[in-house]
Amino acid sequence: MNQHLLSIHDVDADDIVRILDTAESFREVGSRVIKKVPALRGRTVVNLFYENSTRTRISFELAAKRLSADVINFSTSGSSVSKGESLKDTALTLQAMGADAIVIRHSSSGAPLTLTRWVNGSVLNAGDGTHEHPTQALLDLYTMRDRLGRLEGLRVAIVGDVLHSRVARSLSFALVKMGAETTLVGPPTLIPPDAPAWGVEVAHDVEAVLPKLDVCYLLRVQKERQRQQYFPSVREYSRLFGLSRARVGLLPEEALVMHPGPMNRGIEIDSDVADLPRAVIEEQVTNGIAIRMSLLYLLLGGSGSPGEEPVGARTGAADG
């Protein structure tokens, strides 16, 4: 594995299998009464969140804490520029504090890569602009493999605003790496014209795609895209591309419905559909903690198997 996880391009298929397998062994920790192992004791993990994302931050925080790492939450609303301190100075500050890993969420594509110029620790991309969200893709793969038993040959559709979705990018790249058959579905205004070069199919008729799927993965509709004229109205989007009660019946019986959250019930997904047993949206959330434990453990060279005492752990200065 690379030192950092900035993009799905940083891991190959073997790495992905190792990440999922390691997560498998960590998932059990979450069902214990004492949900904690000492694998990263004395290590410092910083959550550097330039965008509000309570869900992702809490998931990383729980993951780090269950590994016994010290966790610092460095949150700021808006960009570094509006805050007054540059990304560089924030990075140098965290470096001086001895952060072993920095989990960064940022509205600017590429900010995690830029951050690596100034810090020695591992950088984990928790979502950058419209670029990538690799940990989301990995927890989605984990959920698919857990439920369906395999990834190779799975038929997956990603439906919605692929153009502006970091989740769709990471998930597409990851599915292609694992040999899944991936189709991007949405109006042409929201699908990158060059997407076929990623190794995926493109379709614009969701009803024609649904009967052939193992997984229907829905993306959140961002209402601002209507103002930018990517589609005429949320209502029309929902009518053409939303997973309604009628449409969900077109899916094969075993097929899953997935969503990275937070959902717009009644827009990209009918509220009743979101509550069907085949909609594994909460499982995605639960699995996210195990995947992030796995990644922190592997990137920080956590020692021994889960549950054992760490060897050679170094002390990070943590002053909250």
């Binding site: 960009s79 594509s109 590429g110 970091r166």
Partner: protein
């Protein structure tokens, strides 16, 4: 200036005179003279090329307004170090160069630095706002020959028509356009294509430029006058200019060294020194630009030297400003990537960097021919010497797309009106 300098044994390339030969060149009293065997300081130029000083059609020196990034003096010094003897500071300063007072100030600062001819570009419209014509006549009286709202495209065909038509009042005035359809380019941080989609960066399609080029050529056909197209970036634009020239339109065009050398593939690490406008496009576009320069469709190489503060460029990609400095790397870039690779003759390179831009901007003292009695604006360079591009620069800024790269071709001496302002690669004033 009583000093007499004899440049001995240089390969003299003077496109304006159709000359390429090894010869001695004598400079006395600030002008070129016929070598007469009398006493002179001899500068050995064996293996070196001597040519008319380079002329930049497109320079941002940031003064007045952003003297922290560059001043007329530091921009002039960067230019001299790069072998230039004339620069054209763009009008997008603060205040905007849309009236004679700013023009006079910039010229005065240039004269005080006395490193290169400073030929300010005037704004086409007041405040670069694209609505009302600036007082072009007053600026012409102040010596301006080129007008541009660079950084922005004149937003409506009607205003551009009036500017081109009105400019016909004066001899030798050219309207220079930054071709960009704002509605297509808006929000884009790089060339739109495979890489922008993969990097998650909003793109601006090449059609943002092509739509404006097509409109501008049509308007030029309607209005007459002289149109110059700045920093072309797309293959389609080159094709349109080629056809327009064949048709007889009075249009000229420039390309930057960075568009001739780099492409959107250089953005894969989100290096903000490659964030420029127009954006670096595909390798196919780059090849079309080279072909356009080779066949004369593109008349000139211009730097679009755009200094920015380190802290502005050391930022998130979408927040960083656009531009790269270019004065000190232009010659090396053209030599390394075009001349040494056999794409462009040395004579055509000098023509595109000196002779032709001097003609476009109406600078009779620049660009040759290197004849007795004419001002000694010269560059002497070693076409084969290699240098790694790194600070310190003559420029106040260091946002160079060429940082860390090796260029083959180095300026040795620059003579500005007979004075050795750069000697052995070092600025003398």
């Amino acid at each position: 200036m009583a000093e007499r300098i004899l440049f001995r044994g240089a390969r003299v390339i003077d496109p304006a005179a159709g000359r390429d030969e090894v010869a001695d060149v004598l400079v006395t009293e600030g002008v070129l003279a016929v070598p007469d065997g009398e006493n002179a300081t001899v500068v050995d130029c064996g293996g070196l090329v001597l040519a008319p000083g380079l002329v930049d059609l497109h320079t941002h020196v940031r003064q007045p307004g952003r003297e922290d990034k560059e001043t007329v003096e530091t921009g002039s010094r960067a230019a001299a170090l790069g072998g230039f003897t004339a620069i054209s500071p763009m009008a997008n300063t603060d205040p905007v160069a849309d009236h004679a007072a700013v023009i006079h100030e910039v010229r005065e600062l240039g004269a005080r630095a006395s490193l290169v001819d400073v030929l300010p570009v005037g704004a086409i419209t007041s405040g670069l706002e694209g609505e009302t014509l600036a007082e072009i006549g007053e600026m012409v009286e102040a010596g301006v020959r080129m007008f541009s709202d660079d950084g922005r495209c004149v937003p409506t065909a009607r205003v551009l028509r009036n500017a081109l038509t009105y400019a016909r009042t004066f001899d030798g005035v050219v309207i220079a356009e930054h071709c960009e359809d704002a509605s297509l380019a808006e929000g884009g941080h790089m060339h739109e294509g495979f890489h922008s989609y993969s990097l998650g960066l909003a793109g601006q399609p090449r059609e943002a430029e092509e739509v404006a080029v097509a409109r501008d050529l049509a308007v030029a056909r309607l209005a007459g006058g002289r149109l110059h197209l700045c920093h072309l970036s797309s293959a389609g634009s080159v094709d349109m200019v080629r056809r327009a020239k064949a048709e007889g339109l009075r249009v000229t065009a420039e390309v930057t060294p960075h568009h001739l050398v780099f492409s959107d593939e250089n953005l894969l690490t989100y290096d903000t020194n490659f964030k420029v406008n127009p954006p670096l496009r595909s390798p196919e576009d780059r090849e079309a630009l080279v072909a356009g320069l080779v066949d004369g469709t593109i008349d000139a190489v211009a730097t679009d030297h755009a200094p920015h503060a380190v802290e502005e460029k050391e930022a998130e990609f979408d927040l960083a400003p656009v531009g790269t400095i270019g004065l000190e790397t232009a010659l090396g870039a053209v030599l390394t990537h075009l001349v040494h690779r056999g794409r462009l003759s040395l004579t055509r390179a000098i023509e595109a960097m000196s002779t032709t831009p001097a003609r476009i901007v109406g600078a009779p003292d620049q660009g040759g021919p290197l004849e007795p009695g004419r001002p000694a604006n010269l560059v002497v360079f070693d076409p084969d010497a290699e240098a790694v591009i790194e600070p310190p620069f003559g420029s106040k800024s260091r946002n160079s797309a060429f940082l860390g790269r090796t260029l083959r071709g180095r300026v040795v001496h620059t003579l500005y009106r007979g004075a050795m302002v750069v000697a052995d690669g070092k600025a003398q004033r």
